[in-house]
Symmetry: C2
Subunit: 358 residues, 2 copies
């Protein structure tokens, strides 16, 4: 299929060119082809009321004919806005985050923004690289769930200093004022422990995530509060932190099972993946999950529905909804006029729901 396009030469003449491949025309070429000025074309394409209907028609037809596609780089440069939102996630593989992404995408649907996804893979260095990249790309906003390794938030402060709106979700920074969406973890833990109490299980271990994460700390404080609330024993060695790797989860389970004075009756796991790893360890060691050892965890991911032995109960965290909330909070920030006074930080805390599987 032969196509033609106009090329402006230095002398101002227009030349009809032939090419095997299509050409991404510019407004200049449309203007040249129509013998009007570029500004007329620009305005026509923007449906500016000052342009006559007939001209608009001609312009839009020629635009189609020449395969005009607006160049966002030029637009960004001019408008000082890229209409792009950066998203930094620990792991795409975790269903929690891929659900959240979908929620974010849906919330931005029709808003004209593009979502740029990056995974930190739970590495501090990769997270920093991602923030730097987004900063220089001039994204209009960044949505983050922080990596397991991150303890220092300087790179996020830098974003704030450059006035890039940032919204955190689920894994949010400790002791730093930010916009964020997170679960009411402590309340969730209380619900989970209440369920175990009902089952008459008292010796409950905490198989936590990385110590660095605020959400691990919250699980701990919820756990400690629940121990008191339900008069459970605080048994030495019952609190374990993991780096979320299968190996470490297995190692900590081994410790819980063999190196404590009394074997636990139940385990409260950091999330479903941790629970799955622990349950797998149980099966490898002839321990019957949810019989010999009960499991309760966070997230309630759809994937657990495939399992014979899911955690006995899991706290639904509404990952999709959480993504949507984070995105909507971002949209709010983007739509606010760029006032000089710093806006107050907004925190959305979402309730969890205990879903009983067994």
């Amino acid at each position: 299929m032969r196509n033609f396009y106009f090329e402006a030469t230095n002398s101002g003449r227009k030349e009809l060119c032939f090419s095997m491949s299509k050409h991404q025309a510019t407004i200049k070429e449309i203007a040249l082809a129509l013998n009007v000025s570029v500004s007329t074309v620009s305005r026509a394409l923007q449906d500016d009321p000052r342009i006559g209907l007939r001209t608009k028609m001609r312009v839009s037809e020629m635009a189609k004919a020449l395969h005009y596609i607006p160049n966002p780089a030029a637009k960004s440069l001019r408008k000082q806005s890229t209409l792009t939102i950066g998203v930094i996630l620990p792991q795409l593989r975790e269903e929690f985050f891929s659900l959240a992404i979908t929620g974010i995408e849906d919330a931005f649907e029709g808003k004209g923004y593009n979502i740029f996804i990056t995974q930190s893979r739970d590495k501090y260095e990769r997270e920093i690289k991602a923030t730097r990249y987004f900063l220089q790309s001039r994204v209009d906003g960044i949505i983050v769930s922080i990596s397991a390794e991150t303890t220092d938030y300087q790179h996020f402060r830098e974003l704030q200093e450059f006035d890039v709106p940032v919204v955190f979700f689920d894994r949010v920074p400790n002791n730093m004022p930010v916009h964020c969406v997170r679960s009411n973890v402590e309340d969730g833990v209380l619900k989970a422990m209440g369920y175990l109490a009902q089952k008459n299980l008292h010796k409950i271990a905490l198989l936590n995530g990385p110590k660095t994460l605020g959400i691990s700390q919250e699980r701990l404080s919820g756990y400690l509060a629940a121990l008191k609330e339900f008069n459970f024993e605080a048994i030495p060695g019952y609190i374990k932190y993991t780096d979320l790797s299968r190996e470490d989860i297995a190692a900590k389970m081994q410790e819980l099972w063999t190196q404590t004075e009394e074997r636990p009756e139940a385990v409260l796991a950091f999330n479903d993946y941790v629970a799955l790893g622990a349950i797998k360890w149980c099966r490898n060691n002839g321990i019957k999950p949810n019989e010999d050892l009960y499991f309760v965890s966070f997230a309630n991911l759809p994937i657990t529905d495939y399992l014979d032995h899911p955690p006995a109960a899991s706290l639904e965290q509404y990952a999709y909804q959480m993504g949507q909330n984070a995105a909507n909070l971002m949209i709010e920030l983007l739509e606010q006029p760029n006032s000089t006074v710093p806006r107050p930080f907004k925190e959305i805390i979402m309730d969890t729901e205990l879903v009983i599987h067994i």
Copy 2:
């Protein structure tokens, strides 16, 4: 932390401005502050040999002081290249694709490209929107695994017409010459059926994916070839197509189990997720997976390792590696000079390996 920056006014004077928030300086501001020209700054920052060492030092210091961050929009506009690769995947949730993404990211590591991920969610319309968006964004290349709904490839042809390099992986178009990376599916099926033959299982059903996908067709032709090869019976109603949804998988399993003359002894599933859905259906219906009914599938995803009842065997497809191969093929295309003669299409076919779980 108070910061200052220089602002160029219309009159050409430079003004020292104060601001609470940092400012993304431009080379112009650096030039102004240093009393040199913008081109000197530009060259210094690019480490151009023509610039003196002393000047380079001064420039790079001032760049740091003013928080200079190069603007990629301007660079793209000038260079006519965005250094961005678009990736279109059916579902991030599927571990196969999130593994592939990681392979793609790693292959591009250090190459200076940025990876822009989008999910089609197996919707034709979303896939078209994504290609259009990438086209107008002027991405330098697009890597795709096509959606389950897609039967028409016009949107991909359009990309080719605009000279945007496209590499497909795993789910590749039928009957269309393209660059692609895919598994040797038919050989894989043969291996899987051979395994079942060894187990003395003869009545084997095919629980396939969407009819639209080439990789479903390949599974079918591999299946038919294997039936002959091993002298298995071709039993009516043993070939089922699914839309990959849990509901449809359950419905087709129901049909296989109740509406065929003889119940199958084994099921060859489209992939691990389909197998998981089918296995779940079995448990719901009191059928013992891999005893009453054997399962063999494609992908061999890590997630299946969490299961009590994974498919008895699965064909490892090396998703991460496949992503890397696709990315490396793309890099090849990008590095080729833009010759006018169309380059021959390259097809990389990867062998699978049968991994026995039981």
